[in-house]
Each structure stands twice: as C-alpha cells, then as structure tokens.
C-alpha cells in the first residue's frame, strides 16, 4: 500500500513527487507514456512568468507568484537551467498602454516585485531590435526562462533519489475506493493501492477525475504553435518580449531560451483531440505576423523546428485544485494551463498541505536536497574537461556536432533515475537532435547507443511513443 500515488509525470506530477519525497511516505508515480515529460510539459513557452497578469485573488495569481520564488531556490538545489532574464510587455497605442497600467496594478496586488512601466527610450536601450513603433512597456525583472524538460527530469530524478517509485507505460483505467484504500487499475492490469491519490494527469485530468465520478471540469485543449530559431540569431532579444495580452491568453512572445535559441509563439486555438499537436499554415502565419510586429528584424528564415503543444484549459479559467467529492483522499489538479510551469512547485506545496490534512507528515532525516545536472562537456572549463576525460573516456566522443554533445552525456542520460528510453527522451535531456541538423548526423549514432545501453534491438528503439520505431528491419530482411 502506498501513502501517495501520483497519476501523471509532467512537471506538476514530478514537482509534487519531489515535494512529498521530503517526508516519510511511500510514493509512486504512474505515467501512461514511454517516458516522463511527454505532454504539455514538453511543449510550451518555457517561461517562468512574473505573475502580474493572473487575476488578483485567483489561485493562478497566488501560485504563480509563489512558484516563481520557489524556482529560484529549486533551480540552485536541483541544477535546473533557469535564467531570470526579465520580461517586457510591449504597448503600441493608448489602448495597450491602458492595459499595461491595469497589468501593473494587478501585479502589485498579486505581490509581484520588480514591476515598472518604462518609456520608449528605455525600452530601446534594453532591446534595440524591438519595433520602433513601441510606446511603452511593462518591465518585470522577476520573470525568467527555464528548461521545462530538465525541470521535470530534475524533480523526478531527485524524487527517485529520495525513494519515489516510477512506473512507465501505465495508463490508469479504473479508480475505486474500498474501506481503507483507493484502488487504481491500469490498462496493463497492474493494481496499486494508496491512501492518497493525486490526479496530475494534465490534458487527461478530466478523464481521470471522471473515473472517480468527478465531473466538475472538462479539459478543452488549446493548441499553441511555435517556431524555434537557430542559435546564430539569438542576439536579437535578451528578455521575454510579450504582446499586450488579450482574453485568449498572454499572446505571442519572442524569447530567448535557456539553451541559446529563440522561441516564437504560441497561438491559442481550441482543438478537439488531446493529441492534435499539428502545426498549421494559419497558426504559423499568425505567429509570424505578431513576431514581426514585436521584433521586425527577427530572422524567421533561420527556423530549425516548428512544433505545437496543447494546454489543459478548462472553462473555469483558473486552476481547479480540490478534493474529490466521491473519493476521500483523492485530489484533482484541473485546468493547469499557463502559468502551470511557473506554478508547479507551488502546486506541489498545495498538494503537500492537502496530504498533511490526511496523513501525519514526518520529515525524512536523510532527505537528499540536491541533485546535479548532467555536465555539458562543451560548457566546462579546460581543467574540468581534463578531469572528466580522465574519469570517463566516453566524453572523448562527440556524437552531436551541432550542440557538441559527447557520448558520456548521452549514456548518463540513459542510466540516471527516470532515464531516457527514447530518441526524443535523449534529445530533451542532453540535446542531441535539438540543433540545426535536427539529428541528421547523430541520429544513427543515437540509435546505436540506445540499443546498446538498453539492451534492445535497434528496430525496437522508439522516437517517442509506442509505434514510433525509427527503423523497421534489416535491409534485405524484408524482401
């Protein structure tokens, strides 16, 4: 019997697992995918928002502001790539300026620090490439950029270092309450018993809730389409550059990423299918139109990747965090769309408080607070490079030439807790395939390494999901 069972290993599930792992609890995380971080957490704007735009008094406002503060500490403890680069919301006319003033006041009420409305000269000093048409901007020094993948990996890895168990390929299909436990069954036929059940299933959180008979919310996914630009054009902006927000969302942004690329997007279009992560002509044109308005010289022709992700939006508009009406001890985390990433550590604290109302929380004596990221060879100093080469000859072999990733980094990504199982899993952890050749050169080498390290035939290596095999057999073998 588990004390806590978490459904869903996105950033919220992972942050929750890490928070709860501070206490003497038996915890497991169930994930339906082949790896952690495969839903909304893998495809979003990668921003830790300042917290000025969520309506004052909402849960989003409270948890965003708290989450941003927590990210500062966590990024140090867990070695998460996080850069508090600050953000600018640009206004181009009086109406926008009025909106900026509202945002500013709302931000102050939310307790956001470092807010300032600045004029054109100051904006152009900070960001010389934004449109000269800009009139005013709301600057927020607290906003930052983060690697959403490595945030998720850091949380789950550290949670597992502290005893949390992870079960992959486990899709929950049944939830039942008996006298003293909640019973969870999966498609594969596994059964888990737990005292506390945490529904952090993101896009599927409504379906998990309904397994418990909870029908308070329905996820209506909203798709966001993006461009990722080559590192060679990364000098164009240094802050997260937003348009003035509308009802549909925070609008399209142009931002550096922690990896040194530029991200442009997202759109916000409702879709029916929770897996409909297509990019479209209309979506990308919309992205381009706004991006050009914000940063006219932006080199959109230096795109290396188009992608889209789905937000787990619900009609209530706010995060909906509540105990199941039908199953005592189950908590639903509904509507975790933006600023879900920024709020994730604060949501984890909410869950902890919920758990503390049901179980006695005793702090672990031997809690491991820190986790070290996989060292990126190319970023090390010469002395550190020599040291790591002496210890591990796998660092001598560069596999990804665009991002200069060594075999050592890739092997470590596979063998860590919640390690990479797939080509995309490797890409998200240590970046081969994220560069300008998009895996054209390193692809065959990654296949070989995954096959060797996992002890599976090359034919069984997946890109990401089940059925996404990269090769289908030996040549001549299929004739």
């Amino acid at each position: 019997m588990y004390d806590c069972l978490i459904i869903g290993a996105g950033v919220v599930g992972a942050a929750t697992a890490r928070e709860l792992s501070k206490y003497d609890l038996k915890i497991a995380v169930l994930e339906k995918g082949t790896e952690v971080c495969q839903g909304t957490s893998k495809s979003n704007s990668a921003i830790v928002h300042g917290g000025y735009d969520a309506t004052h008094g909402s849960l989003k406002a409270k948890l965003n502001v708290r989450g941003e503060k927590l990210f500062e500490t966590l990024s140090k403890e867990l070695n998460i790539p996080f850069d508090k680069c600050g953000s600018l919301v640009l206004a181009f006319n009086e109406e926008d300026e009025k909106k900026l003033q509202e945002l500013y006041e709302n931000g102050l009420k939310n307790g956001v620090e470092g807010l300032k409305i600045i004029d054109k000269d100051e904006i152009l000093m900070m960001e010389p490439h934004v449109s000269k048409e800009v009139t005013k901007a709301l600057y927020c020094s607290e906003a930052g950029i983060v690697c959403p993948f490595n945030a998720t990996f850091a949380f789950i890895e550290n949670a597992m270092d502290n005893g949390v168990e992870l079960f992959l390929d486990e899709k929950v299909i049944e939830i039942e309450k008996n006298d003293d436990a909640i019973l969870v069954r999966t498609e594969k036929g596994s059964e888990f018993q737990t005292k506390i059940l945490i529904n952090s299933a993101g896009l599927y959180s409504d379906e998990i809730a309904s397994l418990a008979g909870d029908t308070e919310f329905t996820v209506k996914p909203r798709r966001g389409e993006y461009r990722i630009l080559d590192k060679k054009v990364s000098d164009i902006v240094k802050h997260v550059i937003f348009t003035t927000p509308t009802k549909a969302g925070k609008g399209i942004l142009v931002s550096p990423t922690v990896h040194g690329n530029i991200i442009v997007g997202p759109t916000s279009d409702p879709v029916e299918d929770k897996e409909d992560t297509r990019t479209t002509d209309s979506g990308i044109s919309k992205v381009d139109e706004v991006a050009r308005k914000l940063v006219p010289e932006l080199a959109l022709n230096e795109t290396i990747r188009l992608f889209s992700g789905l937000r787990a939006s619900i009609s209530q508009g706010d995060f909906l965090i509540y105990e199941s009406k039908n199953i005592k001890g189950m908590i639903n985390l509904g509507g975790i769309d933006s600023p879900g990433l920024a709020s994730s550590p604060a949501i984890a604290e909410e869950v902890r408080d919920f758990v503390s109302r049901h179980l006695d929380l005793v702090e672990k004596k031997n809690f491991i607070k820190e986790r070290k990221a996989i060292p990126h060879f190319n970023d090390l100093s010469d002395v550190e490079k020599e040291e790591i080469l002496k210890k591990n000859p796998n660092y001598k072999r560069i596999i990804c030439r665009c991002e200069m990733i060594t075999e050592g980094e890739i092997i470590e990504a596979i063998h860590r807790n919640a390690g990479a199982r797939t080509v995309d899993g490797i890409k998200r952890r240590v970046r081969p395939g994220s560069g300008r050749c998009q895996g054209g050169f390193c692809g065959p080498r990654i296949l070989e390494i995954l096959s060797r390290e996992l002890g599976i035939p090359v034919e069984e290596v997946l890109k990401e999901g089940q059925g996404s095999n990269i090769v289908i057999g030996r040549t001549k073998g299929v004739l």
Partner: protein, 417 residues
C-alpha cells in the same frame, strides 16, 4: 602539436587537399576527421557514377574515396579519426577532442573541408505532425547503406535533390514502394542523368510545382497531403491530395557547414553560404583555405577534387611562405547567375583561376562570357545550362594578368524553363 598544414575533414575535399599539400612541400600535414573512417559522405554513396572526369571510369562512392585514401596512406600524412574540432582561431590554433582526449594544434595553414549538412523539415516549414518516419535523405542513405537498416516500406520523397533521387532508386531496390517525388520548383534540382536512371527507369512520378502541405500520423508517418503551387510557391486551392505512406524523405537542399569557419572569423558570402575565397581558395583570413561542399555545394565529386587540389597546393605554398600575391581583382556574378566563385582573383599568380558558377534558370545553347568591363576575356558555348549543374571554367593567367578592372561572369542566351 605543430603542423605545416591541418586539413579539417577527411571527405573527398579534405583527402585531395591533404595529398596536394603534402606533395607541394607541406611536410607535416594532418587530416582531422570526426567520423570513424576517412571518405566522408562518399562512404554512403554506394551507387556508381563517380570519377567520370577524374578517372574516366565509373566508380562507386567508396571506390572513388579509396583511390584517395590509398594515396594518403602512401604518404606520411597523420590521420586523426573520431576526432572533432571544437575550436579554431584565426591564428591557426586548433582544439580537438578525440580518442587521445583534448588536443591542441598549431598550424602554418589550415584547409577547411567540413562539407555540408541537409536542410530539415523545420527549416522549410513543413506543417502537420512530427512523427517518426521523416528522414533527411542522407540520414536514410547512411542507415540503409552503411548500417543495414530499412527505414520504411511506402515512401514519398520531398525535393528532387540528387540524394533524394538516388534514394528513390535505392529504396525501390530494397523492396519499398516509392510513390512520388514531390518538387516545389518547376524543374528538378537534381542531375538530369539521375532523373532518368533513378525515377524514369522505375516509373516513379516526379511531381513538379508541388509541395508537401502536411504530414499525418502521430507516432509514425501515415501519409502526406501534397498540393500544387503557383509560380510564387503559393498553394493553389483545390489541388490537395492525400498519399498514404510510412516514410517521408527530405532532399530539399544542402547547406555548407561553416560554424567552425566563423570561429576563425572567416567571412561568408550570403549567396554561397561558404567563405569568400580568392583564386587560390584562400579565405579572407591569410593561411586559411576552404574547398569542397563547405565552400559551396557541388553536385559532382570530381569537381570537388579539382577545387580541393588548388586549396591544398596553395596551403602548402602559404606554409612555405611562398604565397605572396598582391594584385587582386573582384569577380561578380551577372544577373543570370546565382553566384560565382572565386570572389577574387590574384592576377600575379601563374596558376590562373577556376571559375565556378550556377545559373538561376535553364538556358539552351547559351554562351558563357567572362568579361572585364566590356571586353570578353573568354567565352564558352554549352548545349544546356541548368541550375542543378554547377559549371567550372578554368581561366589561364595569360588571359587576365594585364587587366585592371573587375571581372564579371554571365550567360548569354534564351531562358527555357
């Protein structure tokens, strides 16, 4: 470690340059190669058709490469395999990582011969899902020809670049069904002989003025939607068509891989995406030379060899302190050319220049004219000139040594698309 000449890249360009450097007095010459063997991209080009100019016979890619590898091995040229150059400076210091750990080199001259990479689905903005089954044609070629894996059974190829055409035939021979080659331009971007030998001979349709509008399939490719485009590459409404397939190969262009060149502060020509070079293949950084696909994308390896010999020979001359040209003129492409190389010619060099260019459109029975001001220095007639086939014309020093103004290269003749 100190060298007279360091050649970065052990493909056809690097091999020819290293041999030539060594033979011209760069006694200490080495090749630094990131892959596990010499030969570069030729190793995966197991089809024949290489060497018609160079050896007057048809060789496969590995055979062509081996002719040069043998010559390298005969000479006292150091070869560093599995070794990646991490950094180079304009002072010709090289940092590399390989089997022996981090290595620091210093050279009198450097030849950049790193080749090119393929444009990707992201770069050309193909919409839809991003499942497995979308490969750059060159990556698929490596998987099939060198690693022995089949990538799919029902194939659509986007782009009619030579690798795409070669792969259409290769996939067919491996038992796959190639349903179409889709090309956005009104003409193929591959060699004419490849259209015949790789598509026509296997009844594979070439759909010109078409684009892949959308990729379908969440985990594995299930199909693509194609559409016809107008002469501005905009989709023509009502022309969408679905083709079911499990694989999409992309052959949509090659890009010289100059990230390393830029670390050495070598400036690049936006037209070729390669270095600015003079007629000795020297970049604007003295002692750093560039040749092969890292300089501009070639379609015939024999031409790479020819150009790389010039680079290697002059890298040796530089190392010996014998490359001291003073008198240069600029070379400009005429309106009908996409680019011309070299961008500068040394007039006081007895070796003359090898003019290379690509046309913008197709021309039948054209004359290529090389001018200075209004005077024609050289002209040459062709049956046909197409954008997919690079032209090389040697220019002897006698013809140019006494000119003063810049040189312009252009085509005279009727466009024929």
């Amino acid at each position: 470690m100190e060298y007279d000449c360091i050649v970065i890249g052990g493909g056809p360009a690097g091999l020819a340059a290293a041999i030539e450097a060594k033979d011209n007095g760069a006694d200490k010459t080495c090749i630094i190669e990131r892959d596990r063997e010499l030969g570069g991209i030729l190793n995966q080009c197991i089809h024949n058709g290489f060497g018609l100019h160079e050896f007057k016979e048809e060789l496969t890619g590995p055979e062509y490469a081996y002719r040069f590898i043998e010559e390298v091995l005969k000479r006292d040229i150091d070869v560093y395999l599995n070794t990646m150059v991490m950094d180079i400076s304009k002072d010709k210091e090289v940092v590399a990582l390989g089997d022996r750990g981090l290595m620091n080199f210093k050279a009198k001259s450097i030849v950049l011969a790193m080749g090119c990479r393929e444009r990707t689905a992201g770069a050309i903005g193909v919409k839809g899902f991003r499942p497995s089954g979308v490969y750059n044609a060159g990556m698929a070629q490596r998987l099939i020809n060198m690693e022995g894996y089949l990538v799919g059974k029902e194939v659509v190829i986007y782009g009619s670049g030579d690798i795409g055409l070669i792969m259409a035939r290769r996939m067919t021979l491996e038992g796959a069904k190639v349903k179409a080659v889709v090309e956005i331009m009104p003409h193929s971007s591959g060699l004419n002989r490849n259209i015949h030998q790789c598509l026509n001979d296997f009844d594979i349709p070439l759909l010109l003025s078409h684009k892949v509008a959308e990729i379908h399939g969440k985990n594995r490719v299930e199909g693509v939607t194609i559409a016809e485009v107008d002469n501005k590459f905009n989709e023509i409404e009502g022309t969408r068509e679905y083709i079911s397939c499990d694989t999409l190969l992309l052959s949509v262009g090659l890009i010289p891989e100059n990230e390393l060149s830029q670390k050495a502060e070598v400036s690049l020509d936006p037209r070729t995406k390669g270095a600015f070079v003079d007629s000795n293949m020297q970049t604007e950084i003295p002692g750093i030379f560039s040749c092969g696909n890292v300089l501009h994308v070639h379609d015939i390896v024999d031409f790479v060899t020819r150009e790389s010999r010039i680079a290697g020979k002059n890298a040796a001359r530089f190392a010996r302190g014998e490359l001291n040209n003073k008198k240069y003129v600029d070379v400009y492409p005429g309106d009908k050319l996409i680019y011309v190389l070299p961008q500068k010619i040394a007039l006081d060099d007895e070796n003359g220049a090898l003019i290379c260019f690509r046309s913008r459109k197709i021309y039948r029975n054209p004359i290529v004219k090389i001018y200075t001001e209004d005077k024609v220095l050289k002209e040459k007639k062709y049956k046909i000139i197409v954008p997919s086939e690079m032209i090389q014309i040697p220019l002897k020093n006698d013809v140019i040594k006494n000119i003063n103004g810049s040189i312009r290269v252009d085509i005279e003749g009727e466009e024929n698309d």
